[in-house]
Symmetry: C2
């Protein structure tokens, strides 16, 4: 990482930016067990179709999902499953932190 120039750094930041939104994480999560079309993802995410479509095009632009249209549907799938490793790592961090904070809170709430 220390050898990264500013340009590559910007790419990496963009990749993280693609993951920095709850709805997009939900979509990626939904794709974990295989491709889904926009309609399905709209239902799962609970957002409007237009909104999901925008999120999907952003995910595709940053290279996180692949797009394939078949018939009147467009199917999206994970471009590289290693993205889930990222999410797991972050989940661990976040969960650990939430536990820690809960413990700190407990300390101050004793009686």
């Amino acid at each position: 990482m220390s050898k990264l120039n500013d340009n590559t750094l910007a790419y990496v930041a963009d990749y993280f930016k693609a993951l920095a939104e709850p709805t997009r994480l939900k979509v990626l999560n939904a794709l974990q067990d295989g491709e889904k079309n926009v309609g399905q993802l709209t239902e799962i995410s609970g957002c409007s179709q237009a909104n999901v479509s925008k999120h999907l095009s952003m995910l595709a632009q940053y290279g996180l999902v692949k797009r394939e249209s078949r018939g009147t549907s467009v199917f999206y799938s994970i471009a590289d499953p290693s993205v889930y490793k990222l999410c797991e790592l972050v989940c661990d961090q976040v969960v650990n932190r939430l536990i820690q904070e809960a413990e700190v809170k407990k300390l101050f709430m004793v009686v």
Copy 2:
């Protein structure tokens, strides 16, 4: 990851958001070989002191760095080194993608 509720999902997204900015990545990178104070990080990042200070407080808020003031200086250090695993994973993805794109470009540019 599939068991995450919306609240935790938001935390994870926030964690990624902390990483979704080139200057903050640069700062984290600079902290890889140990703690540094704000002045040092200002110089390394090439940003204004105010700007670096804001980025640092964001990183601290999301739990990526620890803050310790000694004398008139404030030293920041990495809260959990596993953040570098994340960066490596993303770097790999990004580099692979750039290589792929370069190859595609080559295909179209053959004489």
